[in-house]
Assembly symmetry: C2
Homo-oligomer: 262 residues x 2
Amino acid sequence: MSPRIAQSPRPVYQQLADSLRAKIATGGLAPGEQVPTEKALAEEFGASRATVRQGLMVLVNEGLIVASRPRGYFVRRHELCYFRPQAEWEQHPASPEMDRWMTEQTTLGRAPSQRINVEIIQPPDRVADRLALSPGDLVVVRRRVRYLNDEPFNINDTFYPFELVQGSELVNPADIARGASQVLTELGYEQVRAIDEIEARMPLPDEVSRLELGAGMPVAVHRNTGFTKDNRPVRHTVNVLVGSKHVILFERTKPQGAPENE
Amino acid sequence: MSPRIAQSPRPVYQQLADSLRAKIATGGLAPGEQVPTEKALAEEFGASRATVRQGLMVLVNEGLIVASRPRGYFVRRHELCYFRPQAEWEQHPASPEMDRWMTEQTTLGRAPSQRINVEIIQPPDRVADRLALSPGDLVVVRRRVRYLNDEPFNINDTFYPFELVQGSELVNPADIARGASQVLTELGYEQVRAIDEIEARMPLPDEVSRLELGAGMPVAVHRNTGFTKDNRPVRHTVNVLVGSKHVILFERTKPQGAPENE
DNA sequence: GAGTGGTCTAGACCACGGG
DNA sequence: CCGTGGTCTAGACCACTCA
């Protein structure tokens, strides 16, 4: 009725968000549990439904709750999965510590599945740069969406210079049992070095649809460029991981005789 | 007036968001440029101000625009900075490729600054686990907020087992010119191996305030655990990086005689 | 059918910064 | 002062799912 009289130090919708956030943090609202309905919160806080919704939006965009219409809002569950770029070169997790940390929280899901499709395209600028291609050079891209428990888990697009891989299995949209690295080696381009770039950002619209993302879900973008012993870039992979579902792991040792820095 | 008659396939506020998002993607709205005002958009789309605001919120939460009250909305600028955990052990970027990629986009800011404060605390669970501590063991934590161009850039909290470092410089809240690694070495705990864990998520409220984050800004959390040659964990660092401002870089080579996997 | 959230309207008052 | 976005209200109709 009265359109707001004085200035509270903190807006009502923020107070509501703070209150629910605290309940979630302390476990008063457990993962998977239902949040009170908009109507109930409106009564509790003496606010209109729009104001309550504004507060709930804050939490949705923080990734703390999800709306599951028309059942209500629920506290989000968090399941982590570990991702080790170095696994390509190692049979097993390198150290006992990493092994323990990984098994501790890893989602033991049902059979993973994936969808592959292969295209021959003009590379995006970033890819052309990483593969040191000239304008007009083409690339083969193998696009995969990986699923775990029938939920999309990550997007994995791998780009190869067309010139290097034409005629090989890499241009066929079938799984390569012995591994793409092996095929590259057989073609005479063994990958012996890699650079990894990792970035966190909000997803683009097409990533939202491919990964079926809701609001408040950032992604980690992992780019990997592989080189031969002659320092020729032969492969560039763009991995889009759903944030808060993945932890990326690296292990490294101090180079011999390296100097000290901080 | 009429409270909505038919069902459009896509809500008006989404259409508005799509339209502006496309303009931003194609450069029709350049970084730093002002977005039309709420009023102007309301007239353009024949919608109420609340609907327009809902559409703008979508873009704010995607990190594409920022509201700068009361001047208006502006397209966000993106500046990237590279972060190399391996720099600790190397004087210079390892390879010419990495060197070129880094200089390409690196923000050349004014003098960086930082604020340090040191506490002796009971470690959080995750830290205690990583440092293989027993219940009751204490840690020294050196908390730093690093600034670049007077903007907070990252949070860097480093934890040391109290038992190992008591009495050393590490418990004083002053910068250590020769580097914390050097101090650890002098104490007999040279770090020769490290594990890195990287995760993307939305920031917690205290990170929002320490990093002065707006909506739609995810963070990359980088955790590093350092080990001595006896595999004793001696240091755990939690680095909170503002997403979309940082790229984390690693470089690695294939171990000798390693088998092939994909 | 009842109840949930999803979308939308037409208004209102406020704080703030620049002319 | 004026115009901006920030907050808030009291309604409305819709689509969906579950009992």
